[in-house]
Assembly symmetry: C2
Homo-oligomer: 110 residues x 2
């Protein structure tokens, strides 16, 4: 993404990557700290290798933190950082557009 | 995307597909009606087959209209519909997050 890499929109979409990332952020925003299995069961059937990849990218981007909740076997839970929670208005604007223009959809709350 | 297909966020991301779609919407939002070549030259180096695919999907979703501006050869220009212009707050929220959290980015204006 060379030419307009200083565009805040392009740079943000670059970080978020694709719709799966925003759906993961949505689940953590509305439901708080979640374990890997919760996210796998929730996000519209996200393929498990895609989930692992997006979680790593979102962690690298400082949007979520992971913490081990058990040592053996080692298992993690995921929480939005402040930077991640600041995506609230983005999700809100998307939900507003969706309920207005896509019949049969509704705003899922926290 | 079966389980939560009534979620307005999931449904919207389903329509928008990926970041390229939102970058096309951005260009049309800020710069008005554009020809295929303008979009190809602009959107962060979008591959031309991806551009053609996303334009068709955005047209199918009622987000943009295309109109022929010359007959021979047949060439089209693209304009946001009302439904497409209503994505303004989504782009705005993304830009606000980007300029706040990604150093070196700026808000590109209309």
């Amino acid at each position: 993404m060379a030419p307009r890499s200083d565009c805040a929109i392009a740079a943000t979409l670059n970080v978020l990557g694709d719709r799966w990332s925003l759906l993961i952020v949505r689940d953590l925003m509305f439901r708080g700290t979640l374990r890997y299995g919760d996210l796998a069961a929730s996000a519209e059937g996200i393929p498990t290798n895609t989930l692992a990849d997006r979680l790593r990218k979102l962690e690298d981007a400082g949007i979520l933190d992971k913490q081990a909740y058990t040592d053996r076997p080692l298992r993690y839970e995921y929480t939005l950082t402040d930077r991640g929670r600041a995506l609230g208005p983005v999700l809100d604007a998307i939900a507003t557009w969706g309920v207005t223009y896509i019949p049969g959809t509704r705003r899922l709350g926290p």
